[in-house]
Structure formats: structure tokens, C-alpha cells
């Protein structure tokens, strides 16, 4: 029991993150050797800019998956928020700042709806978010009738295309998000409660963890971040289309899972997710620079995803086997290397 609580107390820097770090460093070295344009500040900042939208949504997604849930609707929520931003400004006459607020609010509402159904009516998260995946995309398509909105005023592009102290503006938001979500998951009661829910929901409930309220909060956060990502996305590409963010939920989930967050819940870190995001973006960029086409890159990412999970799974099995063969210290390793002796 004491080991369990220790497991919950410390964020895990386990075998998986180490594996990822090694892959990441190897990838960096190889890519730097293959292309002299890769390891330039310009390129790296540019890549950071490109991964911000997926990255922002990956933060609350880490929380959601750590609790054993999933949110497939984020890509569609992004599309819905983007359309609401553009349409409320262009067609309904909202002032642009109000339109931005409206889009963020719509994202939060979308996430809240997911959370409400999941907690109050016990709809499985997979089903609920498949339903809203269709619904939110449908709203985006229905409201816009597939027309796009463009011609925003110049100041609007500051977030997506401008820079602050030489670093793209949205990257500051991303850094802040990493910090906030990382600290919450790693060092607060809330983060511990998230892992407790994913580890054993009934147990968490009986221990007095407000499971439903926490879930409602994290699904709402997930929708809100999709709204924020929509704002950044629209600002970056200067236009609003109803198909924005299509399939992005899979990129987000791939990054989170690649980062070592268990799809069964209970285990995961924001640091791992950041590593997953970096690795995917590096692969995309590096392969593109070395002349590999984007579509082959998707293939590599899929392979890396499966391979990394396989490696971790094998490592865990061997450890389990070792544990099973040594019954005198069955608990000693349950922290999975989270505690250094």
C-alpha cells in the first residue's frame, strides 16, 4: 500500500521516457547530419510553431487519457470553434475580440457537454466523443455551408504569425501550457487524483476523490484548449474553413500515447507527451527536409508509435516476470523505477 501511494506521489520518469529520449537524440543527430538546414534556429522555431495546435490539445488529452478516458472530438471541436470565430465576426457582426471569446467559450461548452454526458449519464467516453466528433464537425459544416472566411484585420495575425522576443508568439502560450499542465499532473493533489482515477476509479471514489467533478473539469479543459488551438490555427493560416483540424485528434492521441501515457489510464506524464510531440514533429520535418514526402512520414510515425509501445510492453513484461519469480519482494518494483533507492 505504501508503495502505491509512493507511485502516486512522484511523477514517473520510467523506461518509456528514456527510450523516447534516446530515439529523439538519435533522430536529432541523424537529421542534423543529413540536412544542414535542419539544425538552424529558424527551422526549429518554425517547427515549434507548427506543432503548437496539436501540442496545446495534447496537454488536456494527457489528463483525459491518464484517467482512462479519451476525447476523440478535439479535432472537430477545433473546426467548430474556428468556424464560430470566423462566422460570428464576418456574418453575425461580432467585434473580433468578442468573436474570439465566443469561440473559446464554444470550445469550453463543447468539452463540458462531453464531460456532462460522460459523468452524469455514464456514457463511455469513446462513444460520447465519437458522437460529438460527428456533431461538432457537422455543426461546422452546417453553419458555414463549407464557405471559408478570410480577410481578418492585421492585428489578428499577431498570435499565429508574429513573434515576441524572437520566438513565435504562440510558442509562449505553448510553453506556459506545458508548465501549468506539467505542474498540475506532476506535483498537485489534482494530478494525483487523475492518476488515482485512471488506476482504480472505484477506489478513488471511495477514497473521497470527487471523480465526476474532476472529469467534468478535464473534458471542459480539453474543449477549451481546442478553442484556443482554433484561434491560433486561424491566425496562423489566415483563413477559416470547416474542415480545419480534421483527423487532428489522432495526431494528438498518437503524441500522448507515444509519450508513454497508458491508454488504460493511471500512468502518464506531461514530459512524456512533450517528448512524443517533439519526436513526431522532428520526424515530419526531418524527413521532409531530406526529401521524403509527407505521406511516407505518416507511415514512419505509425511505425514508431507501434514500435515504441511494443518496446515498453516488452520491458514491462520482463519486469513483471522478474517480479513474479521473486515473491519475496513483490512490491519493491511496483513503483516502476519511479523511486531511486
Amino acid at each position: 500500500m505504501s508503495d502505491r501511494s509512493a507511485a502516486l506521489r512522484l511523477p514517473r520518469l520510467a523506461a518509456h521516457e528514456l527510450v523516447l529520449l534516446v530515439i529523439l537524440i538519435v533522430a536529432l543527430a541523424v537529421l542534423a547530419a543529413l540536412s544542414d538546414r535542419f539544425f538552424t534556429l529558424d527551422n526549429l522555431l518554425n517547427q515549434g510553431m507548427l506543432m503548437t495546435e496539436v501540442g496545446l490539445m495534447a496537454m488536456p488529452m494527457t489528463f483525459v487519457i491518464v484517467t482512462g478516458g479519451i476525447d476523440l472530438s478535439v479535432g472537430s471541436a477545433l473546426g467548430m470553434c474556428a468556424i464560430l470565430l470566423g462566422y460570428s465576426w464576418h456574418n453575425w457582426g461580432f467585434p473580433l475580440p468578442l468573436a474570439i471569446g465566443f469561440a473559446l467559450l464554444a470550445g469550453a461548452a463543447g468539452g463540458f457537454v462531453n464531460g456532462w454526458f460522460i459523468t452524469r449519464l455514464n456514457v463511455p467516453p469513446l462513444i460520447m466523443t465519437i458522437a460529438t466528433l460527428a456533431l461538432y464537425r457537422g455543426l461546422a459544416e452546417g453553419i458555414s455551408q463549407a464557405h471559408s472566411v478570410r480577410g481578418y484585420p492585421d492585428w489578428f495575425y499577431g498570435l499565429g504569425q508574429g513573434a515576441l522576443f524572437g520566438v513565435p508568439s504562440q510558442l509562449w502560450l505553448f510553453f506556459a501550457a506545458i508548465l501549468v499542465f506539467g505542474v498540475i499532473l506532476g506535483f498537485t493533489t489534482f494530478g494525483r487524483a487523475l492518476r488515482a482515477i485512471g488506476f482504480n476509479e472505484t477506489g478513488a471514489r471511495f477514497s473521497g476523490v470527487p471523480v465526476d467533478r474532476i472529469k467534468l473539469i478535464i473534458y471542459t479543459a480539453s474543449g477549451t484548449m481546442a478553442g484556443l488551438a482554433a484561434w491560433i490555427f486561424v491566425s496562423r493560416v489566415s483563413t477559416t474553413r470547416s474542415d480545419m483540424g480534421t483527423g487532428m485528434e489522432l495526431d494528438v492521441i498518437a503524441a500522448v500515447v507515444l509519450g508513454g501515457t497508458s491508454i488504460f489510464g493511471g500512468v502518464g506524464t506531461v514530459f512524456g507527451t512533450v517528448l512524443g510531440l517533439l519526436l513526431i514533429q522532428l520526424l515530419k520535418d526531418g524527413l521532409a527536409l531530406t526529401g521524403v514526402k509527407g505521406d511516407a512520414t505518416i507511415m514512419v510515425i505509425g511505425t514508431v508509435l507501434i514500435a515504441s509501445i511494443l518496446v515498453t510492453s516488452f520491458a514491462e513484461r520482463r519486469r513483471d516476470a522478474a517480479r513474479a519469480s521473486n515473491p519475496r519482494s513483490p512490491r519493491a518494483t511496483t513503483t516502476e523505477g519511479r523511486e531511486t533507492p
Binding site: 454526458f117 463511455p124 462513444i127 460527428a134 511516407a296 507501434i306
Partner: protein, 325 residues
């Protein structure tokens, strides 16, 4: 909850029956209402378009339902259909006899899905992750190999839909009907078929009854691969030009059909008759939007609401049943 799965088959059967009647009723109501607004909707020509154009969704949903009943999910199905349709079309254009152009993709579907099933069953990786990875591999692989080229000049005898039973039921629709009935019968009346429900409902109890979880999951994925292969062939043979890309959102349409058909995502319940009816209902709704002069851009929103209604109705019924006990 899961403990009750094996001991109380009767309420579950009644539940699945009512889900199917509900869907059948919804289809009838839809046709009557839309038919009154616009009689052309119920013209046999339109009915045939709906059924012919969506038989492949229903066929793929049969396999998907089995996968979901066994407690797994397959996100790669849309990409695999895209790949297999391209393979089938390329073979046909290359002069391979049409029979082979139909059968080889099916075999390939079995191989790919069985490989995924083996990873899920024997290496213990979650199916959602494995099939997510496979989705990327297939999608990326397809476009980088073919560059999204269009396959045209398909031989005349390649198109399955030109034949029909008694001149009324086109071959793809025939496949849909026969396979649905056969799969439903098999899942309900054979030990192996019922094993899928057992594994999905309670893997531990199933194991104690002598039903191997791993073997069952591998088998389910292999069978699913066969249905996916056939779905790809039905999809490819109804086109005059095959675009070698992945049909967008196809996996979601197929999963939606299974779920609206009453297959519980938690595993252990649902029938393929429900999923086929749901596939028809979804297709009919899409078609009806045009006939009542609604923009087809609202289709996805309607689909989303439909899933929600289904899920809520299911929850309501479960609660009432629990209350009645």
C-alpha cells in the same frame, strides 16, 4: 455488471431485439415521412442507389461489430478499405482476371487484420493504439506508393453490381443481406460465435469456461479482415474510377453503424442485424436530406445527434430494466 453477462442471456437478447425493431421502425418512419414530402425518395431507383452505394459500409460494419463485441476496436478499417480497393483496381487494370482481382484483396485483408489481431491478442497491446498506428502506416503507404493516381479503364466484367439475383437484388446488396443473416446466425447459435460475446463480456469468466481470449480475438480480427476485404471490393467495383486514396471518415461511418446498431463499446452485446439496419438508416438519412431540400452539409451533425439518441435510449432502457428487476 460483467458477471451478469454470462448468467443472464435472456434480458440481453430481448434488449438487442428491441434495438433492431427500433431501427427498422425508424427506417420505415423515415421513408414514409420523406416519401410523403417528396415521392421521388421512395422510387425504386433511389432505394437501389441507397442500398447499392452503401452495401460495403454494412458489410464492413459486420466485421466491426464482431471486433467491438469482443471488446476491441478497429480504427484502421477506412484506410485498409482504401488500400484494398486500390489493390483490387490495379489488379483488374493490369489484366488479372476479375475473379482474382476480387479474391486477392480479401485474402490480403485477412492477412493485415490477422496480423493486427495477433499483436492485440498475444502481445497484449490495446487495439485502439495498434489500429491507430496501422491507420497511419496504410494511409501514408498508399499515397506514397501510388501518388494518389486515379485508376480508370476498369474492365467491363469487373463491376459486380451489373449482376443481380432474379433481376431485382444486385450482387452487392445480396452479399450484404446474406452475410448479415449468416453472421448473425453464427454469432448467436454456434459455440465459437457465442465465445465472442463471452470474451467481450467477461474475459476471465470466458477463460474459466475454456474459451481462449487470445485465440478468439485473433479469429475475430481475421474474420473482420475478410469482411473488410469484401467491403473494399464492393466499394471498388461500384466505381468507374478508383481514386487511390483513403475515403475520408469511412472508419467513423462504419463504427457509427455498429454503435447505432446496438453494439456496446464495452463489449459483450449487440448483433450484426442491428449494425446493418443502422448502416441503411444512416445512408437513408443522408439521402433524405437532399430530398427535403436540406443542405447535405448538415449530414454529419444529424449523424452525431443520431448516435447520441441511440446511446441515451440504450441507457434509459438499461436503467428501466435494472429498475424492473
Amino acid at each position: 455488471m460483467s458477471g451478469a453477462a454470462l448468467t443472464q442471456p435472456a434480458p440481453r437478447l430481448r434488449l438487442s431485439v428491441s434495438q433492431e425493431w427500433l431501427l427498422a421502425g425508424a427506417i420505415v418512419v423515415l421513408f414514409v415521412v420523406v416519401g410523403l414530402i417528396n415521392p421521388r425518395f421512395v422510387a425504386s431507383r433511389n432505394l437501389q442507389t441507397i442500398l447499392l452505394g452503401n452495401a460495403y459500409v454494412a458489410v464492413a460494419a459486420i466485421g466491426m461489430s464482431m471486433v467491438i463485441v469482443s471488446g476491441n476496436i478497429d480504427i484502421s478499417v477506412g484506410s485498409l478499405i482504401g488500400v484494398l480497393a486500390t489493390v483490387s483496381g490495379s489488379l483488374a487494370v493490369a489484366g488479372v482476371p476479375s475473379v482474382l482481382a476480387w479474391l486477392l484483396p480479401i485474402a490480403l485483408g485477412v492477412v493485415v487484420m490477422a496480423a493486427q489481431g495477433a499483436v492485440v491478442a498475444y502481445l497484449g497491446l490495446p487495439s485502439i493504439v495498434v489500429t491507430l498506428g496501422m491507420l497511419s502506416i496504410l494511409k501514408g503507404g498508399l499515397i506514397s506508393v501510388t501518388n494518389g493516381v486515379w485508376i480508370s479503364n476498369l474492365p467491363d466484367d469487373y463491376h459486380l453490381a451489373q449482376w443481380s439475383l432474379f433481376g431485382v437484388v444486385p450482387v452487392p446488396v445480396l452479399f450484404m443481406l446474406v452475410l448479415t443473416v449468416a453472421a448473425a446466425w453464427w454469432m448467436r447459435n454456434t459455440a465459437t460465435g457465442r465465445g465472442i460475446y463471452a470474451v467481450g463480456g467477461n474475459a476471465e469468466a470466458a477463460r474459466l469456461c475454456g474459451i481462449g481470449r487470445q485465440r478468439t480475438v485473433l479469429m475475430v480480427f481475421a474474420i473482420h479482415g475478410m469482411f473488410v476485404g469484401l467491403a473494399a471490393v464492393l466499394f471498388a467495383t461500384q466505381l468507374s474510377v478508383i481514386q487511390s486514396t483513403v475515403p475520408p471518415n469511412l472508419e467513423l461511418t462504419i463504427i457509427t453503424a455498429s454503435v447505432v446498431g446496438g453494439v456496446s463499446i464495452l463489449g459483450g452485446t449487440g448483433t450484426v442485424i442491428g449494425s446493418t439496419l443502422a448502416a441503411v438508416l444512416i445512408a437513408a438519412i443522408g439521402s433524405s436530406l437532399i430530398f427535403v431540400n436540406l443542405s447535405p452539409f448538415w449530414l454529419r451533425a444529424v449523424q452525431g445527434v443520431l448516435i447520441l439518441i441511440t446511446v441515451l435510449a440504450d441507457i434509459y432502457r438499461r436503467r428501466r430494466r435494472r429498475g424492473a428487476r
